[in-house]
Amino acid sequence: MQKLNLFQLNADRVPDLKEMFAADFTPASAEERVSATESRKSVSYWRDALRRFKQNKVSMGALALFFVIFLFSFLGPMLIPYNYADQYRCSMKLAPGEFSKAEMTAKAALEHADLIYDTVLSPGSISSLSRNTTYWFRHKGVTYSFYNEKTLGDVIVLFRAEDADPLVYISEKDAENGVFDNVTVIAYSTENIDTRAENTARLPLIRNVCPHVFGTDSAGRDLMARCMYGGRVSLSIGIIAALIVLFIGSLYGSVAGLIGGKVDFIMMRVVDIIYSVPDVLIVLLLQVVLKDPLQAWLDSSPSGFARMMSNLGVGIVSIFITFACLYWVGMSRIVRGQVLQLKSQEFVTAATALGVPRSRIVKRHLLPNSVGQLVIATCLQIPSAIFLESFLSFLGLGVSIPMTSLGSLCSDALETITLYPYRLLYPGIILTLLVLTLNLVGDGIRDALDPRLK
C-alpha cells in the first residue's frame, strides 16, 4: 500500500498548505477579482418557482379570478344589506334585478327624500318594533326621535332634510303618485334630542334601496347574499378538509416511509384497501350515520370546541370526519413515495454517516425537500373537496337550512328549475368558476414547483 506523504491521518502536525505551495500561488488581479465575486444574487428555489408562476398567464388569470370570488364570498356580505337567512316576505320570487312593490315605493319616495325606513323590507324595520317606546336616530347632526304607536301595512317613514319637522308616515299610494301633502305625523318629539331616551334602540337607516342582483328565492331570501355565504361555506370546507387530509396523510405516509420494512408493508396494505373502497358509497352512509349521534354529542358537550362545531352545523362537521376517515390515503401515498425517494439520496446518507440524529434529518432534509409536493397535492385537494361537498349537499346530505352552500343552493333550485332557471345558474357558475380557477392555480403551482412534471 502506498504511503500518503502529505495527509497523514492522526499526524501530530498538520502540514501548512499555504507554506508548502506558496510559490505556486499568485494574488488575483483586479479583473479576476471582479469575475470571481457574485455578480447577482443567487436565485433560491422558491424565488425561481415564483418567477415561473408569474410567467404562466393562465394561472395568474385564474388566481386573479379566484381572488374576485374570494372577495365576493368573504367581503361581499358586508356590502349588501341582506342576510343569507332573512326572509323578506314582500320580496318573494323576484327575478334578478327586479324590485318588489314595497321596494319600488321606497325607490319612488327616495327621489324626494333623503332617507327612509322601509317598514316591510327587513325584520328590523319599524313594523316589527315594540310599541309605546321612543326610538331615535341621528342624521346630519340632528337627532330625531319618534313613537311607534300605530303600525300600518305598507307605509314608509321618510325624512326631508330641509323641512323643520320631517318625520312622517306616508302610504304607499302617496308615494306612487308622488304626493306627500296629505301625510300624517303620527308621533314626533323634539324633546331629549341629545340624550337617548330610555328603552330606545338605534335604528339603521336606508339611504337607497339595494337591488336583488340575483333575485330572491321562494321564501324571499336574497339569492346573492346566499351565494356569497354559500361560496364562503364551500371555500372554507375545501380548505379545512384539504388541511385535514394534509395532516393525517403526511403523518401516516412519513411514518410508513421512515420506518420502512414490515410496518411500512402493513400500513400500505391498509391504504390499498381503503383506496379500493368505493368512497362515495361510504361517504353517503357516513353522512347519514353521523348526523344524529353527532348532533346529540354537540348538544350535550359543554366544551368550547363542541360549541364551535355546533355553530358550524352537523352536516359540515360530518363532511370533515369523512375526509379525515377516507381521503388521506392519496396524500399518504405521495408522502411515503417522497420520503422513500429522499431517504436514498446521498445527502441523507451523508448526514446519517456524520451521526446526525434522525429528527434533525427529518427537519433539515426530508421536510424542506418534500414541501413542494405537499403544496401541490394540497392545492389540488381543495377543489376536489369542494366538489364532494357540493355533491353531498346536492343530494340533500350536506349542510342544512338555513346554512347554505353552493351545492345545496343548486339542489334547492332544482325543484323550480323550469320556472326559475337563474336560481341554479348563479350558484352553478360560481361553483364551476371556483373549481376551475383552483384547478388551474394548482396546475400552475405544480408546473412552477416541479418543472419536470410538466
Binding site: 384497501i273 343530494l395 361553483l431
Partner: protein
C-alpha cells in the same frame, strides 16, 4: 401471472368483506330502531325486530348477512317494500338494469369520443383546435355533473324543447341523450386530457419517426402505432371511472327523475331500510372492485413493461 391474478382476487374478496362489515357496523351505529315511529310501542318494535332477526347479537347478524350474500340471498326489505326480496328489488324490478344501461352507454361515449378528441388535440398541438379542446376539457373537469345536467335540462328540455324533461324509465331513445351526456362529460374530458398527454409523449418517440420516414399516412401512424401505447393511462382510468359513473348516476337519476338504483339507494338510506342499503352498497362496491380487478389484470397484460412480481408502484 397466475399467482398475481390469484392474489388480486384474494385482495378483492377481502375488500368486499371489509365493505360489508363497515356498512353493517355503520348502520348499526345509528341509535334507534328502523321500526321506530310515533305510533309504535316498545312491544311492537321488539316483535318486528324479532321477526327480522334484529334482536340477535351483532356478530350473528353480520354472519347471517355474509352467509346470505355468498348464497345469493340478500334478505328482505324492512320498510320500503315490506317483505320483498332485496335481490328482486335490485335486479328484477329493472332498477339495476336501468342504471347499468345508462352507465354502459356513458362509458362507451366517454371512451369513443374522449380518445379521438385527445388524439386530435395532440396531433394539432398549438393550433386553434388544440386550444378549443383544451378549454373544453379544462372546463369539463371543473363543472360539477349536477350543474351540467341542470343546464341540459333547462336548455334542451325546457327552453328549446328538444328532449324530454323527465327521462323516466328510458323507454324512448331521446330520453337517453341528456342523462348519458350528463354522465359521460366529465370522464370524456378527463380521458381526452389523458390521451393528449400520453399521445404527445408517444409521437416524439423514435418508432413514430421511423413510421413517418417509411411514408405511412398520418391517420395510420396515430391510430395504429401511437394510440396503442398511449391507451395504458386510459385503461388505468377505467377503474376510477366506473366508481365515478356510479356516483354521477346518483345525481343524474335525481335530476332527470329516473327510477334507477342510485335514486333508490339514497331513499333507502334516508328510510334506514338496512337490507336494501347493504344490498345496494355491496352490489355497487362489487362492481367497482371487479372493474378495478379487470383493469389491473388487463393493463399488465397489455404492457409487458409493468412488472408482475411486485404489485407495488
Amino acid at each position: 401471472m397466475l399467482s398475481y391474478v390469484a392474489k388480486r382476487i384474494g385482495v378483492s374478496v377481502l375488500t368486499l368483506l371489509l365493505i360489508i362489515c363497515i356498512t353493517f357496523l355503520l348502520m348499526n351505529a345509528v341509535p334507534g330502531s328502523p321500526f321506530m315511529t310515533e305510533k309504535s310501542t316498545p312491544e311492537m318494535i321488539a316483535m318486528a325486530e324479532a321477526k327480522y332477526g334484529l334482536d340477535k347479537p351483532l356478530i350473528v347478524q353480520l354472519w347471517n348477512y355474509i352467509k346470505g350474500y355468498f348464497q345469493g340471498d340478500m334478505g328482505v326489505s324492512l320498510k320500503m317494500q315490506k317483505g320483498t326480496d332485496v335481490t328482486t328489488i335490485i335486479f328484477r324490478e329493472g332498477k339495476f338494469v336501468l342504471s347499468f344501461k345508462l352507465g354502459v352507454w356513458a362509458v362507451l361515449l366517454a371512451v369513443i369520443v374522449g380518445v379521438p378528441l385527445g388524439c386530435i388535440a395532440a396531433y394539432n398541438r398549438g393550433s386553434w383546435i388544440d386550444s378549443v379542446l383544451r378549454v373544453m376539457t379544462t372546463v369539463g373537469v371543473a363543472i360539477p355533473s349536477f350543474v351540467l345536467c341542470s343546464l341540459l335540462l333547462i336548455y334542451c328540455g325546457v327552453k328549446w324543447e328538444l328532449l324530454p324533461v323527465i327521462s323516466g324509465s328510458l323507454t324512448d331513445w331521446k330520453a337517453y341523450i341528456a342523462p348519458v351526456i350528463g354522465l359521460s362529460f366529465y370522464p370524456m374530458c378527463y380521458i381526452a386530457k389523458l390521451t393528449r398527454t400520453s399521445m404527445l409523449d408517444a409521437i416524439n418517440q423514435d418508432y413514430i419517426r421511423t413510421a413517418r420516414a417509411k411514408g405511412l399516412k398520418t391517420g395510420r401512424i396515430i391510430f395504429k402505432h401511437a394510440l396503442r401505447n398511449c391507451l395504458i393511462p386510459v385503461i388505468t382510468y377505467l377503474g376510477p371511472m366506473t366508481a365515478g359513473i356510479i356516483t354521477g348516476g346518483f345525481v343524474v337519476e335525481q335530476t332527470f327523475q329516473i327510477p334507477g338504483l342510485g335514486k333508490y339507494f339514497i331513499s333507502s338510506i334516508l328510510n334506514r331500510d338496512y337490507p336494501i342499503i347493504m344490498g345496494t352498497t355491496v352490489v355497487l362496491a362489487a362492481l367497482v372492485i371487479m372493474m378495478n380487478l379487470i383493469v389491473d389484470i388487463t393493463y399488465k397484460l397489455v404492457d409487458p413493461r409493468i412488472s408482475l412480481i411486485k404489485g407495488d408502484s
